[in-house]
């Protein structure tokens, strides 16, 4: 059982604060939460909205159906009222000049004035919301004490009670399941994964929607003893991270598509110098500036080969906040174990949606640095940074750590010592050494997650953040006895093939679901396996596909 509340208004009206407070209250009450943001790239005006789904079981995606609208302006009512469920309601301040059947006009601003702070009108609205859902006020003052100083906490509480008294119960009460969840978004989960896995240096240049990662890490800088540096541009950001990694710390950088484009030459630098590096691309719709605050999965084809020349790499797409946490830590280990570039793909939807999930298990996180010691080089020999080995991975020494041994890395083609060479033979050996690691990475890959009916007729394939919407669509279709299953890829390069080949043999129809125009996963699958997707559900309007769109398209176009 779950409900969906939409809070809408123009930028600067306070919908973020209101939604934070409301989601925190609901979460603390013991409900599961799924909060997603739809906002414009502007600081004032326009139309923004946030949706909070809450209920008794874990929620994996946003819903297009609304139970309650909190409208901070007239626009919100007009844009969203069509999506209200039959029993749905709208609340807004009495001063807003709008009318609709199921609308409660409340004296929220008046209450705020009487309480003595015009900003608490949103809290009065929260009071009314809680009453509509028959949720008791018990313990909410404690949350206010955490959010505000004592005077403001009191005023908020007064406003909450006054709002509560304005209205009658309306929705059926659902008992919360008081569980010990955490409520976190994708960017924060990446940052926490990086922290746990021992990232000591993060350099980046602000770019929506990736900035949240840097912001969270910056808040923990002193407590964790790490350094977060705002670079002068993305080229500096990635080169600083490469320098720091070369010098021996776990380093990472992150950006969105535009910044990633600027980094491409340096991806090759990490590749040829065999410097471990994790780069996260939090995608937004491109090309160029595109839609800065919206979502898309259109960088997959690009990141698979980004950089001139050929280098080994691993590409992992993140499917949920929980996945983001564990996969970031895994990426950091893989980068160091094989001395390769690992690219993480997220997007605005995942970066910003907030979900309640099981607390992270920090005992599951390991740190494998793969750094060699003095025993890897003989006393009277020069250290060879690019020593040819069976696996292609050379013992990696850290500069300055071993007396009389120096480490030389080079972006030119080089010999085993790191010196420039144009020898055809050495070039061939070095290319093979590096590309061997691409083969080795296949040992690390994880199969996509399978969801749905045991022997499906229709197989959906997707990757990354569409995990939640696809999961919910599959559940709905399965509940109507439609035999659908889905493979949601996390690792995309090297592409895991086993499950795909197994299911492809059995099903009648394969449908790729992606947030891009060209069907980039389908292309990759065809390239790597020869398997052709029969149908595509593609969306590139900057808004995340929801379960109902998938459900309806399967019924209308696939069945």
């Amino acid at each position: 059982m779950n409900y969906n509340i939409l809070i809408g208004g123009s930028a600067g009206q306070g919908i973020v604060t209101l939604s934070q407070l409301l989601s925190k209250i609901l979460k603390r009450k013991g409900y599961h939460i799924f909060l997603n943001k739809d906002y414009m790239s502007r600081i004032r005006g326009g139309h923004n909205f946030i949706q909070i789904r809450f209920g008794t079981e874990q929620i994996f995606s946003h819903s297009p159906f609304i139970d309650l609208i909190i409208a901070l302006d007239k626009n919100t009512v007009e844009i969203h009222k069509e999506k209200l469920n039959e029993n749905g309601k709208i609340i807004c301040d009495e001063s807003i000049d709008v009318s609709s059947d199921n609308l409660f006009k409340l004296p929220l601003k008046e209450i705020a004035k009487e309480v003595g702070n015009s900003k608490v009108f949103g809290t009065a609205a929260i009071g009314a919301v809680l009453k509509l859902f028959s949720i008791p006020l018990k313990d909410i003052n404690k949350i206010f004490d955490e959010f505000f100083d004592s005077d403001l906490s009191n005023k908020n509480y007064q406003a909450l009670i006054r709002g509560y008294e304005l209205i009658n119960n309306h929705f059926e009460y659902v008992e919360p399941q008081d569980k010990n969840h955490i409520m976190i978004n994708g960017n924060q989960a990446v940052a926490l994964g990086a922290l746990a896995a021992g990232v000591s240096f993060y350099s980046a240049y602000p770019m929506t929607p990736s900035t949240g990662i840097m912001t969270y890490l910056a808040h923990k800088e002193e407590e964790a003893g790490i350094v977060v540096e705002q670079a002068e541009d993305e080229i500096a950001a990635i080169n600083m991270a490469i320098g720091a990694s070369f010098a021996g710390v776990r380093a990472m950088t992150g950006t969105s598509g535009g910044g990633f484009s600027l980094m491409t030459e340096s991806l090759g630098l990490a590749g040829i110098t065999e410097t471990p590096l994790v780069v996260i691309d939090v995608q937004r719709p491109g090309p160029a500036t595109g839609l800065p605050t919206r979502t898309e999965q259109s960088d997959l084809s690009f990141v698979l080969t980004a950089s001139h020349g050929e280098i080994p790499r691993m590409v992992i797409s993140l499917r949920s906040p929980a996945d983001a946490f564990y996969q970031t830590a895994r990426a950091l280990n893989i980068a160091e174990k094989y001395q390769v570039l690992v690219i993480l793909l997220s997007d605005q939807y995942l970066a910003d949606y907030v979900q309640t999930i099981e607390p992270f298990d920090f005992k599951k996180i390991t740190i494998e640095r793969g750094i060699a010691d003095a025993s890897s080089v003989k006393e009277n020999e020069d250290y060879k940074r690019y020593k040819l080995t069976e696996t292609g991975v050379s013992p990696r020494l850290i500069p300055g750590q071993i007396e009389n041994k120096t480490v030389l890395a080079d972006s030119d083609e080089h010999n085993e010592c790191g010196h420039i060479t144009e020898s055809a033979e050495v070039r061939t050996n070095m290319m093979e050494k590096r590309m061997k690691k691409q083969e080795l990475l296949k040992e690390e890959i994880q199969e996509p997650e399978y969801l749905g009916a045991e022997s499906p007729d229709i197989l959906l394939v997707g990757w990354g953040s569409t995990y939640g919407p696809i999961k919910e669509a599959v559940e709905r279709l399965n509940s109507e006895n439609i035999k659908v299953g889905a493979l949601i890829f996390g690792d995309v390069w090297p592409l895991p093939k086993e499950s795909l080949e197994k299911y492809a043999k059995k099903v009648k129809t394969i449908v790729n679901i992606e947030q891009n125009y060209t069907g980039q996963l389908a292309k990759l699958i065809r390239q790597e396996t020869g398997i052709k997707c029969d149908k595509s559900i593609l969306k590139y309007d900057g808004r995340q596909i929801n379960f109902y769109e998938i459900y309806s398209k399967i019924k209308s176009e696939v069945l």
Binding site: I182, L192, A196, G243, N404
Partner: protein, 287 residues
């Protein structure tokens, strides 16, 4: 105490032209490191791409020969990772002032403790003689057949105006003086920029050994390098009126590391003690 200078010798075959000004810089650098009693493993030299940028191959210290224009950011990352490393950038004028111009601006602002030696031959050497940011206006090159149309970049006045805490100029043909300037720059706490005039025997037929020799003069013993106004005057002296060499401007300033509590008075970042469970407490932010 000095380090045996032979420890800095590299076995790599040198690809510079005979008579290249880079040799003077390389030899002076070895001498400076040796006289400062630095050991090869304590030093990291980063470079970009160009003839000058090949220097890390010709000296036995740690080296990171990165991308064209990107010599500085890896140096910054490495210094943050391990503040005990002596980090030096050796790269060309095209690399430093052209392709990598943005990085100089912002690392002067960071005042991070690295030394930046610009091998300024006033030309693009490796790519065969195109104009560089410091090529004189009007000078004919392999590309600018009618002469360079744009004004030259003045690294000295630029650095002083940004508040660079150490700004110097030296000449690859005066080794003793160059060693002195290098030592001061390496010892300096903060971002030290040294523009080293260096003839390119193959592609710059104007700024030859002789051209420089006839013009450079050492700053007077009484010259006060902490006086910004005087420094600006010196920064604009160029050409036939004489080219001052020496420490032109110097200022005491806190460095990036001083300003960063996680680095200052802490062991270097590479020695940071960390276990994944240490981050468990951060989950409190999400309850």
């Amino acid at each position: 105490m000095t380090t045996d200078i032979n420890l800095f010798n590299s076995m790599d075959e040198n690809a510079w032209c005979p008579g290249c000004g880079n040799f003077g810089i390389l030899n002076a650098l070895k001498e400076a490191l040796s006289e400062l009693d630095l050991k090869p493993h304590e030093v990291l030299i980063t470079s970009g791409i160009g003839q000058a940028a090949k220097l890390p191959h010709y000296i036995n210290v740690n080296g990171f020969n990165g991308l064209h224009g990107r010599a500085v950011p890896p140096a910054v990352g490495a210094k943050i990772a391990n503040k005990n490393l002596k980090v030096i950038v050796n790269t060309g004028d095209g690399d430093s002032y052209g392709e990598g111009g943005n990085h100089i601006i912002h690392n002067i602002r960071r005042n991070i403790d690295i030394t930046h030696f610009v091998h300024d031959n006033q030309i693009y050497g490796l790519t065969k003689g195109q104009g560089s940011p410091t090529t004189a206006k009007g000078q004919k090159t392999t590309l600018q057949l009618e002469g360079v149309k744009v004004d030259p970049f003045n690294p000295i006045s630029f650095a002083i105006s940004l508040g660079c805490s150490f700004v110097a100029r030296a000449f690859s043909g005066d080794k003793e003086h160059l060693v002195y300037v290098m030592k001061e720059a390496i010892k300096h706490k903060g971002y030290a920029l040294v523009d080293i005039l260096q003839p390119c025997v193959s592609f710059n037929k104007v700024n030859t050994y002789r051209w420089y020799k006839e013009r450079v003069y050492k700053l007077d013993k009484n010259y006060d390098c902490t006086n910004k106004e005087e420094a600006f005057k010196k920064a604009f002296e160029w050409g036939d009126e004489g080219i001052p060499i020496g420490i032109i401007y110097k200022e005491k300033k806190s460095t990036y590391i001083d300003r960063t509590p996680q680095l200052n008075s802490k062991p270097p970042l590479i020695n940071r003690e960390w276990k994944p469970v240490y981050a468990e407490k951060f989950m409190e932010d999400f309850i």
